[in-house]
Symmetry: C2
Subunit: 158 residues, 2 copies
């Protein structure tokens, strides 16, 4: 099974693709960055269009998304909902099933501790996927890989 | 100039198309309804796909959207943001420019009073667009027409 994790944001959307074929393997990771100078519709179109290309290139079976329950304020909830929506739409348009996990799900399944900090999660992502040689792994891509791993680990334990 | 107003919602998205060619005229209005039994990605895909068809059919120059600043809670802000995002994306994919107005902008420009209630706004929409003969105008479509009219009135007064 191949899983794409997506960490949506209007400025930076991270994605990470992993698969389980015997062991768990890293496939790809990256970010979609949008220009602050462009309109919100154009930024959403950039996220959607780039994610479609990623889906076409890596053909995941499943998209794993973080389901946020809190936001700093209502405005940031609107913005986060917007970026997440275009990720869900790209998945729907490619027939990729979407699963959602809470931040605590992700931390617990990847780092073994529901209140792990970002660095601990990132280190476990590197260790699990043998990424120590790969050099810099940007935070948003690491978060996306953690969200993808969460789905693999949750499904195995069910 | 032809304007589509969109009142986005996960369950019901209203749209209303008006144009000004000398006078202000009604072109079309309707709703996109999604099934509660389907997944969120599928519901968003329904909204996006139907709005694209509406854009292709009526070829508006502009999309007018209500910009909400408040929501009942963070969860409803996420949901509203999601539906609005796919409306903006449809506009971006058809090269239709998006303008946003606050609920007070819409009420003030259509009913002449920033705290007008829904019924007053609906009555002014009917009167402005000579819709008394058309029979039932559902609330979500009336709201969308008001949002479209807001853009026309705002642009005229500038």
């Amino acid at each position: 099974m191949r899983v794409i994790g997506v960490d949506p944001g209007n400025a930076v959307t991270g994605y990470g693709v992993v698969e389980r074929a015997g062991t768990v393997k890293y496939v790809a990771a990256g970010t979609v960055r949008t220009q602050k100078s462009t309109t919100r519709p154009q930024r959403l179109a950039t996220i959607y269009d780039r994610l479609l290309r990623v889906l076409d290139r890596y053909a995941p079976d499943v998209m794993s998304l973080e389901r946020a329950f809190v936001a700093i304020n209502v405005q940031s909830a609107f913005a986060l909902g917007e970026a997440r929506a275009v990720a869900m739409l790209a998945a729907a348009h490619r027939g990729v099933k979407v699963f959602e996990y809470t931040p605590a799900d992700v931390k617990l399944s990847v780092a073994g501790y529901g209140r792990a900090d970002k660095l601990q999660v990132k280190q476990m992502v590197r260790r699990t996927l043998l990424l120590n040689e790969v050099g810099e792994l940007v935070d948003d891509a690491a978060d996306a890989l953690a969200i993808a791993l969460c789905h693999l680990f949750k499904r195995r334990s069910q």
